[in-house]
């Protein structure tokens, strides 16, 4: 038992820190885009945890706050391109909300490289792969979000 615990501790010490990224994506575009990346056997960084929601209009700013509270180093919010929303206007509403929320988060001093927004359609698997790879590299350079984690 003791050796097991020591072994676990040992691996934890040895494993380099990897960023934890939470992605809130819409069911119809970005999730399908990420799915296409998977079915096309594209490889990308495994640091992203995808949370699927029906629409970007369903993404409450509290989700993003909660993700940071629970230890995310970065949050990605992604949905259908303007004009492509499955529910016609969900992403337009979401865009308005983000314009306000983005400004608020910047005003309280959160590095906006840790909170990113994108439009990824169901066919843009390559865009998704690039996005995640770039985001992971960027956040890796920034390091863990200690400011929030030590609250």
């Amino acid at each position: 038992m003791a050796t097991e615990e020591a072994a676990i501790e040992n691996t934890e010490q040895k494993a380099p820190w990897e960023p934890k990224i939470t992605a809130f994506v819409c069911n119809w575009c970005t999730y399908a885009g990420a799915d296409l990346a998977g079915t096309s056997r594209m490889e990308y960084r495994p640091n992203v945890r995808i949370i699927k929601l029906p629409c970007t209009g369903r993404i409450d700013p509290l989700f993003i706050i909660k993700a940071f509270e629970r230890g995310s180093d970065a949050v990605l919010v992604s949905g259908c391109h303007p004009g492509d929303c499955h529910y016609t206007t969900g992403n337009y509403h979401a865009r308005r909300r983000w314009i306000a929320f983005n400004s608020l988060m910047k005003f309280v001093g959160i590095d906006l490289r840790r909170l990113q927004f994108s439009w990824v359609s169901a066919s843009e698997a390559i865009k998704w792969v690039d996005l995640i790879n770039n985001l992971t590299t960027e956040v890796k350079d920034l390091g863990p979000f200690v400011d929030y984690k030590k609250l």
Binding site: R95, R96, G109
Partner: protein, 297 residues
């Protein structure tokens, strides 16, 4: 002006047009004004109006005050800034325009805090909102009392709140973060900011919901940040800068800064200022395909 106000209140009550007049009256020691609810025409002499009338009485029009609603149709004594809040309440369907009588009071500015009053209104004791006020002559009212004043606010908003926002905008992320953490650290989660806000009228606030618990209720830095961000976000495009939240805050968190930062953002992005048109929807409940942003990849 007080005479005109009292006469109008008496007239409305005697005619039976309204059942209660919500206005300002002196406290017992005549050091501060306090909300009064006049139901008897004989009591109208209690109504006063002076620079100590800082409260935003439109709070008493919201549904949480069931005992006031039970009295019947209200008339409310409101400054221009209070009328802006009433306009948002009407726009959001909380108050019917014909369900209330607005007695607009022409205002030359109020004091920032009642304790600062030394018998004379000087610019130093006036809040930022008064220096930028373009509704000293009430813009939506059934009756107006007081002689019209001629006051031109500066083209660009100026004053302490806006200067501080500008200064913070010029700082590094880390400095802003420590500025806010220092302030939010003091938050005791008394929710006075929410209770006094006429636009925080949800019957069940998100902080009261615990299945799931979105916002930690203990006065702890993490939950304090979540609460203050959420409160500000829920007021985005709605806050009319009455400043009551900051005045009510027992630990002096500069809430006007976050609220007005968002108001400036909304004005930049959607060319919308809250509280001027009671028939227009607040910007975050409508949308436009032409909204512009530069941060979505």
């Amino acid at each position: 002006m007080e005479k005109a106000l009292q006469d109008k209140a008496r007239e409305l009550l005697e005619a039976g047009d309204v059942k209660v007049v919500i206005g300002y009256g002196w406290n017992k020691r005549k050091t501060q004004t306090t909300p009064v609810f006049i139901t008897d025409p004989a009591d109208v002499e209690r109504l006063v109006f002076n620079p100590l009338c800082v409260n935003n009485l439109s709070l008493y029009l919201t549904r949480q005050y069931k005992d006031i609603q039970a009295l019947g149709k209200p008339a409310i004594v409101a400054k221009g800034c209070d009328i802006r809040t009433i306009a948002v309440l009407i726009a959001e369907g909380q108050v019917a325009r014909d369900g209330i009588v607005i007695i607009g009071a022409v205002c030359n500015g109020v004091v920032y805090r009642q304790e600062l009053w030394k018998g004379e209104l000087t610019p130093e004791i006036m809040p930022t909102k008064c220096h930028n006020c373009d509704v000293r002559n009430p813009h939506i009212a059934d009756h107006i009392v007081g002689d019209p004043v001629d006051f031109q606010p500066p083209d660009d908003p100026s004053g302490m709140v806006y200067d501080k926002i500008g200064a913070l905008d010029g700082q590094e992320d880390g400095d802003r973060w420590s500025f806010w953490m220092e302030h939010f650290e003091r938050c005791v989660k008394c929710y006075a900011c929410s209770k006094i806000c006429p636009l925080c009228y949800c019957e069940r606030c998100i902080v009261e919901k615990n299945m799931p618990q979105w916002i930690e209720t203990s006065a702890h830095a993490r939950g304090n940040l979540a609460w203050n961000l959420t409160r500000a976000m829920h007021l985005a495009g709605r806050c009319t800068f009455c400043g009551e939240c900051e005045r009510a805050c027992p630990v002096d968190i500069p809430l006007n800064l976050v609220n007005q930062k968002l108001a400036l953002t909304i004005d930049d992005a959607f060319e919308y200022k809250s509280g001027y048109d009671e028939n227009e929807h607040p910007p975050l409940i409508v949308y436009s395909p032409d909204d512009e942003e530069n941060f979505i990849k």
